[in-house]
C-alpha cells in the first residue's frame, strides 16, 4: 500500500498503518518553544495544569531568538524566568545570539528525518527541510504536551508540488516559494501537508526556505523528500522514501526554466508578481535574514552581487544572520567583510526585525524589502509601513540601485 511521507511518519510513530484523515494521539520526538511564548506556557503548566515540572524534559528544547538579547526590563525578566525553569527541569536551551529556533534545531541535529517536531511557532513547518513532519501549535497545546508528553493530531492529506527543471541565473528557492504562494493562494494548502518533488538536487538551505513558507499557504507541514544532500548529512530511515504510485489531494506543477524573480507586494504573502511589474519603486530599508533566508548561502549570494560596490545612500541595509553558525560561515570567507564594507549593518543572530519588535522596526510610511516570510500590514512596525518579500538576490541588487531592481539587469 502506498503512503504519503506524512502517513509514513505517523505510521512509524504509532507502530501501525495510519491514513490521512485519522485523528491520532502521538508522542512528538521534539517540542520546541522560544522566548516569546515559553513564559506563558510555563504559566499554563503551573497555574492551569497545576504542575511544577514537565512529563518528559528530553522531549523539549527552548530557544531565545524573538527578542534577543532582551530589549526591555519586561523581556529580560521573562527570559530569566525561562532560564530558571529550564535549569530546574533539565531542559535544553539555546542562549541569545545562538540563532533562530528553526535553524538551530537543524544545525544541532535535534530535528531529524522521520521525526515529528512540533513547535510553539508557525514556522515549525521548516523541519520538513530534513524530512521531518514539522508543525506549529499554540501555547495551550504545547503546555498540554509538557504535562502529558502527548498530543492529538489529525493526519493531513498531502498536496504535491512537482517541480521541473533548474533555476535560471538570478532566480532561486525564494522565488519558487513565492511562486507557489501565487499559484495556491494564502489559504490554498490549509490543513494539508505540502510535499515538494523534483528537488533532489536542492541543497539544505533551499529546502529550509521552501518549508518555512509552507505555513504561509495554510499548510500544516511542508516536506521535501530527504534526498541528495540530506542523505549525506543525516541518517534517513529506510522507510522514509516516496512511493511512486502515491495519490495526492492535488498536484501543482512548476517549471523552473521559465520562473522569473518573484516579489510579494504589500500586504499579502500571495500578492505575488514578477519583479518587472514593480522594478524602479522606491523603498527605505532592506532586511536580509529570518528562518526563510538568513543563512550563509543567502548572505553569500548578496555579497557576490554587491562586491566592490556601495549600497545606495537612499536606503539602509540590515542583515540578521539566522544563527551564530551561519555568521561564522560568513566570516570564514569575504562574505561578511564585503557586506559591511558596502554599508550593511550586522545584527545579533535571531529573528531580528521580522515581527517588528527590535533591530529594525519600521516607522510611519517606511517601505521595507524583506527576505522574510510575512508582509502583513503592520507586522514590522507602524501600520502605515509596507513590506515587500524578496529573494536575497533581489535584496542585494536593489540595495545597490536604491530602487527595486531585477538582479538579472545589473
Amino acid at each position: 500500500m502506498s503512503q504519503t511521507l506524512t502517513e509514513k511518519i505517523f505510521s512509524n510513530a504509532l507502530g501501525r498503518v495510519v491514513q490521512a484523515g485519522e485523528i491520532v494521539v502521538v508522542q512528538p520526538d521534539v517540542v520546541m518553544s522560544h522566548d516569546s511564548l515559553t513564559p506563558g506556557i510555563i504559566d499554563i503548566l503551573q497555574n492551569d495544569f497545576g504542575r511544577a515540572s514537565v512529563q518528559n524534559p528530553d522531549q523539549l528544547v527552548f530557544s531565545f531568538d524573538h527578542v534577543a538579547p532582551a530589549s526591555t526590563v519586561g523581556t529580560a525578566e521573562n527570559q530569566n524566568k525561562v532560564r530558571a525553569f529550564a535549569r530546574r527541569n533539565n531542559i535544553r536551551f539555546f542562549e541569545v545570539g545562538r540563532g533562530i529556533c528553526h535553524q538551530v534545531l537543524i544545525e544541532e541535529g535535534i530535528a531529524q528525518p522521520g521525526f515529528i517536531v512540533l513547535g510553539a511557532d508557525s514556522h515549525s513547518t521548516s523541519y520538513g527541510a530534513v524530512g521531518a513532519f514539522g508543525s506549529g501549535m499554540g501555547s495551550t497545546d504545547v503546555a498540554a504536551i509538557w504535562a502529558t508528553g502527548k498530543t492529538w493530531l489529525r493526519v493531513p492529506e498531502t498536496l504535491q508540488i512537482q517541480v521541473r527543471g533548474k533555476f535560471q541565473p538570478g532566480v532561486g528557492p525564494k522565488d519558487l516559494a513565492l511562486r507557489i504562494g501565487r499559484e495556491l493562494s494564502i489559504s490554498g494548502a490549509t490543513y494539508l501537508t505540502i510535499e515538494y518533488h523534483g528537488l533532489d538536487w536542492l541543497p539544505l538551505h533551499g529546502r529550509q526556505t521552501l518549508c518555512s513558507m509552507a505555513v504561509e499557504l495554510g499548510a500544516k507541514a511542508g516536506i521535501v523528500p530527504p534526498s541528495g544532500e540530506i542523505r549525506k548529512r543525516f541518517t534517513v530511515p529506510d522507510w522514509l522514501f516516496v512511493d511512486p504510485d502515491t495519490s495526492y489531494y492535488r498536484t501543482l506543477e512548476i517549471n523552473l526554466e521559465t520562473l522569473e524573480p518573484q516579489i510579494a507586494i504589500p500586504h499579502a504573502v500571495d500578492h505575488v508578481v514578477d519583479i518587472s511589474k514593480v522594478a524602479g519603486r522606491k523603498f527605505d530599508q532592506i532586511f536580509l535574514g529570518t528562518c526563510t533566508n538568513g543563512r550563509y548561502e543567502d548572505l553569500r549570494e548578496a555579497a557576490l552581487i554587491i562586491k566592490g560596490q556601495q549600497i545606495s545612500e537612499l536606503v539602509r541595509f540590515i542583515i540578521t544572520p539566522a544563527s551564530s553558525h551561519e555568521l561564522l560561515r560568513a566570516m570564514a570567507d569575504d562574505t561578511l567583510s564585503t557586506l559591511i564594507a558596502a554599508g550593511a549593518v550586522i545584527s545579533t543572530p535571531g529573528c531580528g526585525a521580522c515581527m517588528g519588535r527590535h533591530q529594525g522596526t519600521l516607522g510611519k510610511n517606511d517601505v521595507c524589502l524583506s527576505t522574510g516570510n510575512r508582509n502583513f500590514k503592520g507586522r514590522m512596525g507602524d501600520p502605515t509601513s509596507q513590506i515587500y518579500l524578496v529573494s536575497p538576490a533581489v535584496a542585494a541588487a536593489s540595495a545597490i540601485r536604491g530602487v527595486i531592481t531585477d538582479p538579472r539587469s545589473l
Binding site: L37, G40, D48, M355, F376, R379
Partner: protein
C-alpha cells in the same frame, strides 16, 4: 441582542494582535486591550461582551500566537462565524473554549453592525427577523469547547481528546 463586526478574507493574527503588543512585550497590560488595536480601532474601543465576529475565508492566518485568541476570549466575543479558519487559530480557539462556526453560506447574508441573537443550543442566528441555520460544530471540537477548553478537558477526563 448583540452586534456583528464584519471582516473580510484572510484576517491575519498580526491584525488581531500585532506582535508588538504581545504579553511578552507588555507584561503589565491586558492583551484584551490590544484586540484589533491598529487594524480596526472601532472594534477595539466599542466591541462588548457577546458581540459576534463574522468574517470571510481563512480567518486567523499567520502566526501561532494564542494571545490573538486570548484577546478575543477576554473581550468575551460570543462566537466567530467565518467561511473558513486557519488551522492553528482554529485549534487555539477550541483549546481556549472560544466558539468558532464555519458557515460559508451564512456569512454573505450578514452585515457589519447588524443586531442579532445567537442561539448555540439550536444552532441558529436570528438577524433582522430572519432565522439563519448554522452548521453544527464538529463533535470533536464541541467536546473540547463544552469542557471549557483543552486544559479543563484533560483535567476532567484524565486523557487527551481522541485518546
Amino acid at each position: 441582542m448583540v452586534h456583528i463586526w464584519k471582516f473580510g478574507d484572510d484576517i491575519d493574527t498580526d491584525q488581531i494582535v500585532p506582535g508588538r503588543y504581545a504579553p511578552y512585550m507588555r507584561p503589565n497590560e491586558d492583551v484584551a486591550d490590544a484586540a484589533f488595536i491598529e487594524a480596526h480601532p472601532e472594534f477595539n474601543k466599542q466591541a462588548v461582551a457577546g458581540d459576534i465576529i463574522v468574517a470571510g475565508e481563512n480567518f486567523g492566518c499567520g502566526s501561532s500566537r494564542e494571545y490573538a485568541v486570548l484577546a478575543l476570549k477576554r473581550r468575551q466575543i460570543g462566537a466567530i462565524i467565518a467561511k473558513s479558519f486557519a488551522r492553528i487559530f482554529y485549534r487555539n480557539a477550541i483549546n481556549l473554549g472560544l466558539t468558532l462556526i464555519e458557515a460559508p453560506q451564512v456569512v454573505d447574508r450578514l452585515s457589519d453592525l447588524d443586531f442579532c441573537t445567537l442561539d448555540l443550543e439550536e444552532n441558529r442566528l436570528i438577524v433582522r427577523n430572519s432565522i439563519l441555520r448554522l452548521p453544527e460544530i464538529p463533535p470533536f471540537a464541541r467536546e473540547i469547547i463544552n469542557a471549557g477548553g483543552l486544559v479543563a478537558y484533560i483535567q476532567t477526563n484524565g486523557r487527551l481528546p481522541g485518546e
